[in-house]
């Protein structure tokens, strides 16, 4: 296939970027509007404004203060809860998925192939299917209204990331594992000191995806955490809805949503190189 001219490629990419970035920019614009203009923007009365007429920077402080029933407390609680849950889930997913991926890639044991197929099959199950059985299970364990239902499953691996780790670890020369055995390491030591450091690109993908997924997760915290002081940021944003489900302060919702999104954007920028490298490697060798 004949390659496209560079300027045309750039134009195409720029046009694509505009399409993807426009909603984000629109959020920024609405978050800086006055309540009246923001409401009008929502209903489309004044068309779509591409620039705030009179930027209201105070909207951000107001939005965070108004999250939850007590000024600032709701936001700080939700932020702390999100950080705790997300950190635990990221650590749990990376550790368990890499360990299981390593076992599938390197250890010889009876039934390995069958279990691997079974594990891959679980990827076909939509989350909604297991939601009610899991809720009943966690209720039986007395875990409702604790973060355990959100954090503990992460320590049992994620099928997709296990698959990614396995494919990556299969590329690691066997002799490295053997050298570590001669150097005195057992399987756990080999995983921790040799395999995990080599899996950095996969770990970057796993951590970034898991972070974004958990940080933005609405369903899990909504189902398992009922008290306001336990809610995460994604659920706390819901407090901007009025009792009828409508939006009175859309500018505040947009401001709070942008603050909520900020860690994901920063993380992606920080891990971008590893992330893209890992995805490309997965595409070529996986």
């Amino acid at each position: 296939m004949k390659s496209l001219r560079p300027w045309f490629q750039s134009a195409l990419l720029a046009a694509g970027s505009v399409v993807f970035l426009f909603p984000l920019w629109w959020m920024v614009v609405v978050s800086l509007e006055t309540p009246k203009r923001a409401g009008a923007a929502m209903t489309g009365q004044d068309g779509v404004a591409l620039w705030p007429a009179d930027p209201q920077w105070g909207n951000y402080a107001e939005a965070l203060a108004e999250m939850g029933s007590e000024p600032w407390v709701g936001f700080i609680n939700a932020l702390a809860n999100s950080i705790v849950v997300t950190t635990l889930v990221v650590i749990g997913t990376v550790l368990s998925s890499s360990l299981v991926g390593f076992a599938f890639a390197r250890l010889r044991w009876r039934g390995r192939g069958a279990l691997f197929t079974l594990m891959l099959a679980t990827m076909m199950l939509p989350g909604q299917v297991t939601l009610i059985p899991l809720f009943l299970l966690f209720r039986g364990l007395g875990w409702i209204d604790t973060i355990l239902p959100l954090a503990v499953p992460a320590f049992f691996g994620n099928a997709f990331f296990i698959f990614m780790y396995r494919q990556f670890i299969l590329q690691v020369p066997e002799s490295l594992v053997e050298a570590a055995k001669v150097d005195g390491h057992g399987w756990l030591g080999i995983w921790w000191t040799v395999i995990l450091p080599l899996c950095r690109p996969v770990t970057a993908i796993c951590a970034v995806f898991t972070f974004i997924g958990t940080w933005n997760d609405f369903m899990g915290p909504l189902v398992y955490l009922h008290a306001e002081e336990q809610s995460t940021l994604a659920v706390a944003l819901n407090s901007f809805r009025n009792q009828y489900g409508g939006l009175d302060d859309v500018h505040l919702l947009m401001a709070a949503s942008l603050v909520t999104m900020l860690p994901c954007i920063l993380l992606f920028i920080a891990a971008q190189r590893q992330f893209v490298e890992g995805l490309a490697r997965g595409a070529v060798k996986g």
Binding site: L176, E178, A179, K181, G184, V194, L198
Partner: protein, 374 residues
């Protein structure tokens, strides 16, 4: 004493494939022994069984007088150098070399060092000792300037030296080398071969080395073990293997260019025996006994020389000049004979012309089963 004794050692893979059978070998303390053979002959499997990286299906392996069949690789007092170096890519050269010792240290816990000053002092002493060992090995191999580099920043030869250095640091009873030079170019391979030989003399350590390159084996070994199809064919010094190969396989495998074989029927010749081949009749050395009707004479290419009239008359197929010597391929009565002759002698020849080669005084006779006739 770091002896390695293999008694009736065998390896059977799941599915019944026999990779190694009945290997009996006594590697003496300080000996450099090379296992050589074609691909799939079981040499690497044998070495890996000594290392503990393959389970031993049959027999016993003892290192330093202790049977190690059920002992983990790290507890066998061995160090191994792998074909692809197996350096940890995420560690510096220094850490790669220290890694095995770090694992063995008795005061390794950082947490305990923070809690107990006495423990911290022991830990520091151990760290100093490890650093000294790494520095000593690095000095021996000229690796000191590279200690802070990552493996990806090194050339193939440097990586190989680091792999050897990592083994030396451990000060093992036995060094195991699994085709360590096969990823290097020919020039570097030659240099590393010499370095390894010097290193062996300096360390005086027991070394077991696997290669498929018989020249490498001849250059390095005190004794060579030739293997084929999982069986040991012959164990001996390079000169023993070269001068008195026990069968046609060893005779053909050892020596470059490979030995010429002339096959024929055995005939009575007065009190002795002779070989009838398409080119005529060759009297076999006196005292030879043969129980088979067919036999073969083996002649080393460097013992064949052009003569005015000899038993091997044929056409020169090709001449390859190698410097002071030349390899001449002569086809005589359907048999291809390689002769390694002085360059001056080869210059007088032309491809396509007819020449005669004389019967050398040293020739090897093998019976119809390929065994050396006595």
């Amino acid at each position: 004493m770091a002896e390695v004794i293999l008694k009736s050692v065998g390896k059977v893979y799941p599915g019944g494939v026999r990779a190694v059978q009945g290997v009996d070998l006594h590697v003496r303390h300080g000996e450099f022994i090379v296992l050589v053979g074609p691909s799939g002959c079981g040499k690497s499997t044998t070495l890996r069984m000594v290392a503990g990286l393959e389970e031993i299906s049959e027999g016993t392996i003892a290192i330093g007088g202790r049977v190690v069949n059920d002992i983990a690789p790290s507890d066998r007092d061995i160090a191994m150098v792998f074909q692809n170096y197996a350096l940890y890519p995420h560690m510096t050269v220094g850490r790669n070399m220290a890694f095995g010792l770090e694992r063995r240290r008795r005061h390794g816990s950082l947490l305990r060092a923070l809690l107990s000053p006495a423990y911290a002092a022991e830990r520091r002493t151990e760290s100093t000792r490890i650093e000294a060992r790494v520095d000593e090995a690095a000095g021996l191999l000229g690796l000191r300037p590279l200690l802070q580099r990552m493996p990806r920043e090194l050339s193939g030869g440097q990586r190989q030296r680091v792999a050897v250095g990592r083994a030396i640091v451990r000060d093992p009873a036995v060094f195991l080398f699994d085709e360590p030079l096969s990823n290097l170019d020919a020039k570097l391979r030659g240099e590393m071969r010499t370095e390894l030989r010097i290193l062996h003399r300096r360390l005086g350590a027991t070394m077991m080395y696997v290669t498929h390159d018989q020249e490498e084996a001849m250059g390095l070994a005190d004794r060579i073990v030739v293997m084929k199809d999982g069986l040991v064919q012959q164990i001996g010094s390079p000169s023993e293997l070269y001068d008195r190969p026990v069968n046609r396989f060893v005779a053909g495998f050892i020596g470059t260019p490979t030995m010429n074989f002339i096959e024929g029927d055995v005939e009575r010749d007065g009190n002795g025996l002779a070989l009838r081949w398409p080119g005529g009749r060759i009297t076999l050395p006196a005292g030879i006994t043969l129980a088979t009707a067919r036999a073969a004479i083996g002649i080393r290419p460097d013992t064949l020389a052009p003569v005015a009239d000899g038993p091997f008359r044929g056409t020169v197929q090709s001449i390859e000049f190698l410097g002071d010597r030349a390899d001449v391929l002569v086809e005589s009565s359907g048999v291809r004979l390689n002769a390694r002759v002085p360059t001056d002698s080869a210059r007088a020849m032309r491809e396509g012309e007819s020449i005669a080669l004389g019967m050398p005084s040293v020739a090897h006779v093998f019976d119809g089963d390929g065994q050396r006739a006595t």
